[in-house]
Amino acid sequence: MPLPKFDYIKPRTTEELSVALAEHGADAKLLAGGTDLLVLMRDRLVRPKYVIDIKGIEDLHKLSWDERRGLTIGAAVTLNELIASKVIRERFSVLWKAVDTLADPTIRNRATLVGNICNASPAADTAPALLVLDAEVEVVSAKGRRVIPIREFFKGVKRTSLERGEFVKVVRIPNPPDGARGDYLKWGRTRGEDLAVVGVAALVANSGKKIMRIALSSVAPTPLRIFEVEKIPKGGGSVAEQISKAVSIVREKISPITDVRGGKEYRIHMAGVLTKRTLEGLLEAN
């Protein structure tokens, strides 16, 4: 079926993009990889009068890292560019793993991390990793710029805290604390391309400063960080005891629904299983 009709606009600078969004904001959709937008348009779930392609803006293609500021990911950077990055693989392994599980390699040649969070699916694979890494979203509009912590970015199913006329310029991720290790485990119906039945991201450190952070996808209206587990390492106890505490807190704090990919009870069960596996892999290997 053909796509509905729209006007295509390709700004060359972030200023031009701000102007176009200020003018057309209510009737416009931003296009990066298009792997969500074109599907939504074909299904007539969104009907923009204007499609604004951000890929002509050189600034948004930047992917950079430094020791002090950490990682900066521009809105047009593709997922396969992230996978190719040695620094992400070595220092942001939870993010690398999450990106590597998202859709399939051909989709990842086009799809972007910023598109994944702006689409704001509860199943967004990159979101739990960004949540445990304390990412920040830099947002720009004709009125100026602001920074939104990722934990305040998701507002509901397919809803974000972006206001009319605003776009995400970059996602910034601080360097993880020293000694921290991370992982993302995704449970799908098949090993190939599928949305997560449940996904669990964890970031832990058990030497020096003790840290335990956990966030999940597909278990609530938004990707969810479970802050209640973060005091577990302070309470002491064996690794096995700490993991068992984390599992019961995760099972209690999530509120999954039943859908085509799995029932509510199954999701709660698997969230516990994956939390255990992820933490065991990270804590017992040490």
Binding site: P2, P4, F6, G33, D43, T106, I107
Partner: protein, 155 residues
């Protein structure tokens, strides 16, 4: 609806065409350029049968606007053979019986070409990963994987 003049290279030939904003790369190839080797199926990025190479990179052409490929270099299945000489991947597909109904074949062959250019000696796992976005409903995956591994030895 806006219209756009674009210039692109497809299989080595330059085309200057005018497209409406909502035209996809898949429609441009099949309907305007009559290159029907690229297949239309799910139109939502799930099946991968519309895969072509854009600047050498496997891309699902149902999820790309034609206007987005202005200035780019596109390769379709029609662009692989030189004269009557099939590419090593194409020959390996014939040798291994990797073609049943044939509908997914152009996509698998193009994804394999891109893989072997980037990684001339892939492992079986790497082959599976590279073609992971393409579905074969005749379920002939074993023969397809064998053909790609065999072609890598020949290259």
């Amino acid at each position: 609806m806006s219209r756009h003049k674009i210039s692109l290279v497809v299989n080595g030939d330059r085309y200057e065409v005018e497209v409406e904003a909502n035209r996809t790369l898949l429609q441009l190839l099949r309907e305007d350029l009559d290159l029907t080797g690229t297949k239309l199926a799910c139109e939502r990025g799930d099946c991968g049968l519309c895969t072509v190479l854009v600047d050498g990179v496997p891309t699902k052409s149902c999820l790309v606007l034609a206007v987005e490929v202005d200035g780019r270099d596109v390769t379709t299945i029609e662009g692989l053979a030189e004269e009557e000489q099939l590419s090593p991947v194409q020959r390996a597909f014939i040798k291994h019986g990797s073609v049943q109904c044939g509908f997914c074949t152009p996509a698998f062959i193009l994804a394999a070409e891109a893989l072997l250019k980037r990684n001339p000696n892939p492992t079986e796992e790497e082959v599976k990963e590279a073609v992971g976005g393409i579905l074969c409903r005749c379920t002939g995956y074993r023969q397809i994987i064998d053909a790609i591994l065999d072609a890598s030895k020949e290259k």
